[in-house]
């Protein structure tokens, strides 16, 4: 299957092309069919390849498929070539697998939307770009996918382009990503300058001969690359685009802004393990940024009322976790959490989409409540996911998060502080996630029967409207094309954790083991010895904190629904700060965007360009014209004065010859 693996790129590109170019003339069934089938094909190809290569070890498990020379100039060369190794295969499975499910879900969710073809075309394009990102065998090709997914994200966020907020969000997402991308690009430049190549195999092989060093060029490379990751994966200080990105359709949020694209940064750092592991400061930087982001986003999430925004901040927070993992050198753990997160966060988003559909596009949790009885399937699947993210034991998130926390503590790059903050964030996570569940599905029904969304969606649409129940106002479970993916994801949210069981359980961490080939160039670190007891102890603490958080959430949002507002009133400052997302957007607006714009408009353009530069040019012209008018006066019209000029000229000649010149 390996030799045909390039078809994994072919299918989505075909899908994107067909839907994009001729989609207007196709029926929605065809559109959806093409969209889903192409991704399914990719998934199947990936799966077959994965199975084929599963048993291979070491170098054998790594294959490169070179398609063509892409850019070559002077010493610089970049092939369009795919790298198939465990890491990329795992990622591809997630991308195409979750991608496929979300495509299916979209068929239901987006039914009846104008520009259905456009949507699927973009979605397929996204899968293509994500595949390129993951499969690239060099940094530059990865950059293609890297920016490509950014583009798709832009297009899909801006899907409801008539809504100004959507357009704004799309633009913001792209631009903020671009800022990171520039860092990434500089990283590539430096890599090339340092290693003379940008191909992973070449770079890593060379890097593996370098010692672990403090500072220096590796630190620079890693930092630059990490700037890219910060942008793509919405870390501080570039996380601001992600919450706004929720303007896009919910499946898009699930696929791009939860499961796949935003994790690209983590993937990239993991991919570059060979570099990062030799730059300890860079690792620390990654870990700290991840941790701070995790904490901050979790805090913000606590005070949000929009269901998708909570999930968005949650995503930011969870991505922080992943960076914490890779930042302490636990690349496998990072990927592990990436995978489980893909399942449960996609599920959460899809579930929230289902809720939103059922409530006619109500997104404010305080206007929901008691939906459990109307949307049982949605409720249960979401509950599973919430459990998973909150670290309820035996669900997937439990294992992956625990692995991260343990590594944060035990790794030579880790520390107790990392663990402590991480654990507190885990508690916060459990709190705000259960807050979401309780507000949405429990308690009294606060849904306004007559709520009709005004903005955005133009027409009667969505699966649940198809049966004519529109006027009723009763939320109803959406069609099975929507709920089936939920259930599949729920299944994985439960079981995915079992491929990465912790060491104390006595069973092998199969994922870790499998991925090892991909991290073979990473510097080996002498791990401090820790006992299983220690690990179990810490784990218990985590569980306790999570349980406590769930309890508090239950109390605040189910038992005493009026308590939150009391608390909010008491800690008004803090609450407003959290609710206002620490006012980071406003800060950027005030300190960066507006000054730059004003500088550009009034200083650079109006003053400098028009005034000085052009003014100089026009000034020369005006000066000439003034000279000209002056010279006209010489021509007074009087013959006598002309004679005087001639006389003067003669005298000047005399003076020149006899005083000045000769």
């Amino acid at each position: 299957m390996l030799e045909y693996y390039w078809t994994v790129l072919l299918f989505p590109s075909l899908g994107a092309a067909i839907n994009g170019l001729w989609g207007r003339r196709l029926s929605s069934a065809w559109i959806g069919g093409i969209g889903c089938l192409t991704v399914l094909s990719s998934f199947l190809v990936t799966l077959l390849t994965f199975l084929e290569m599963r048993g291979l070890q070491g170098e054998e498990a790594v294959a490169e498929i070179s398609l063509f020379t892409w850019i070559q100039a002077g010493r610089f060369s970049s092939d369009f070539a795919l790298l198939v190794d465990p890491l990329s295969l795992v990622m591809m499975l997630i991308v195409t697998g979750v991608g496929f499910l979300i495509h299916v879900y979209s068929v239901g969710y987006m039914a009846g939307e104008g520009g259905f073809y456009r949507y699927f075309s973009y979605l397929n394009l996204f899968i293509l770009m994500m595949s390129i990102l993951v499969l690239a065998n060099n940094y530059l090709l990865m950059f293609v996918g890297w920016e490509g997914v950014g583009l798709c994200s832009f297009l899909l966020i801006g899907y409801y382009f008539e809504r100004k907020s959507a357009g704004d969000a799309a633009k913001k997402a792209f631009i903020v990503n671009r800022i990171g991308d520039v860092g990434y690009a500089l990283g590539i430049f430096l890599i090339f300058k340092t290693f003379g190549s940008i191909q992973y195999s070449e770079v890593f092989a060379q890097a593996s001969e370098w010692p672990v060093q403090s500072g220096g060029v590796l630190f620079a490379i890693c930092t630059l690359l990490f700037i890219g990751a910060v942008g793509k994966s919405a870390q501080i200080p570039l996380y601001v685009w992600l919450p706004d990105a929720m303007e896009g359709p919910t499946p898009v949020s699930a696929l791009i802004h939860a499961a796949t694209m935003v994790t690209a940064g983590v993937y990239m750092v993991a991919r570059s393990a060979a570099l990062y592991s030799r730059a300890p400061e860079a690792l620390t930087l990654v870990a700290v940024v991840g941790l701070v982001t995790a904490a901050l986003a979790a805090l913000i999430a606590v005070a949000q009322s929009d269901i998708k925004r909570v999930l968005a901040y949650s995503t930011v927070s969870q991505l922080g976790y992943m960076f914490l993992a890779v930042g302490v050198g636990a690349f496998g753990a990072g990927i592990f959490h990436l995978m489980t997160h893909a399942f449960f966060k996609a599920l959460l988003f899809l579930g929230s989409g289902s809720v939103i559909l059922a409530t006619h596009h109500q997104q404010d949790m305080f206007k929901m409540g008691g939906l459990k009885k109307y949307l049982p399937r949605t409720y249960w699947t979401m509950l599973i996911a919430t459990g998973a993210i909150s670290g309820v034991p035996l669900l997937s998130g439990f294992f992956s998060k625990d692995e991260i926390l343990w590594q944060a503590y035990s790794s030579p790059h880790g520390s107790l502080a990392f663990w402590l903050v991480g654990t507190l964030v885990a508690g916060l996570t459990a709190f705000y996630m259960f807050r979401l569940i309780f507000l949405t599905f429990h308690g009294e029904e606060r849904l306004e029967a007559e709520h009709h969304h005004e903005e955005g969606h133009r027409s009667a649409h969505a699966a649940n409207h198809s049966d004519g129940s529109h006027g009723g106002g009763q939320p109803r479970e959406p069609a099975s094309v929507v709920t089936l993916p939920l259930m599949i994801l729920a299944f994985f949210s439960v079981v995915a954790g079992y491929i990465g069981l912790p060491a104390w359980s006595g069973m092998s961490n199969r994922l870790e083991h499998y991925l090892h080939t991909s991290f073979r160039f990473a510097a080996e670190v002498e791990a401090a010895h820790h006992s299983h007891a220690e690990e179990i102890g810490l784990m218990l603490v985590t569980i306790a904190i999570a349980a406590l958080a769930i309890g508090v959430a239950y109390r605040l949002y189910v038992r005493e629904p009026e308590a939150p507002s009391r608390l909010a009133a008491r800690f008004r400052g803090v609450y407003e700060l959290l609710r206002g997302k620490f006012f980071v957007d406003e800060l950027y607006e005030a300190t960066l965007i507006r000054p730059v714009r004003r500088l550009s408009r009034s200083f650079l353009w109006k003053f400098f360009d028009v005034g000085i530069v052009d003014g100089a040019v026009n000034g020369v012209a005006a000066l000439m014209s003034r000279f000209s008018n002056g010279l006209r006066l010489m021509q007074s019209g009087y013959a006598r004065s002309y004679a005087a000029w001639i006389f003067a000229g003669a005298t000047l000649l005399f003076l020149y010859f006899f005083l000045g010149g000769a």
Partner: protein
């Protein structure tokens, strides 16, 4: 014999007077007369040099200058006539329709 320099200086004085006259005189005819004065100064210079060099070529030159002066006078005076008929004045400063 009177030194050549004397003649030359005299020529220079007359030339300058003539040139100055062209600049300061407002009557067209007088202006033109001043030009004639300049030409005469030149003639004097020629003759002085001619004597100094012991040649007659200078005199020949003067002869031609005089001829030219005569021709110029004919044309110039008829121009003055034409102009004064049009402007009803001999004031050269009135002739300033074209300027700038």
């Amino acid at each position: 014999m009177v030194p050549t320099t004397h003649y030359l200086i005299l020529g220079a004085i007359l030339f300058v007077i003539g040139a100055l006259g062209v600049v300061v005189k407002r009557n067209m005819i007088t202006m033109f007369m001043c030009v004639e004065l300049m030409l005469n100064a030149v003639n004097l210079t020629f003759l002085a040099f001619s004597r100094m060099l012991g040649q007659v070529d200078g005199q020949i030159f003067v002869f031609f200058v005089m001829t030219v002066a005569a021709a110029e006078a004919a044309v110039g005076l008829s121009l003055i006539v034409v102009l004064s008929r049009r402007r009803k004045s001999l004031d050269v400063d009135q002739v300033d329709q074209m300027k700038w």
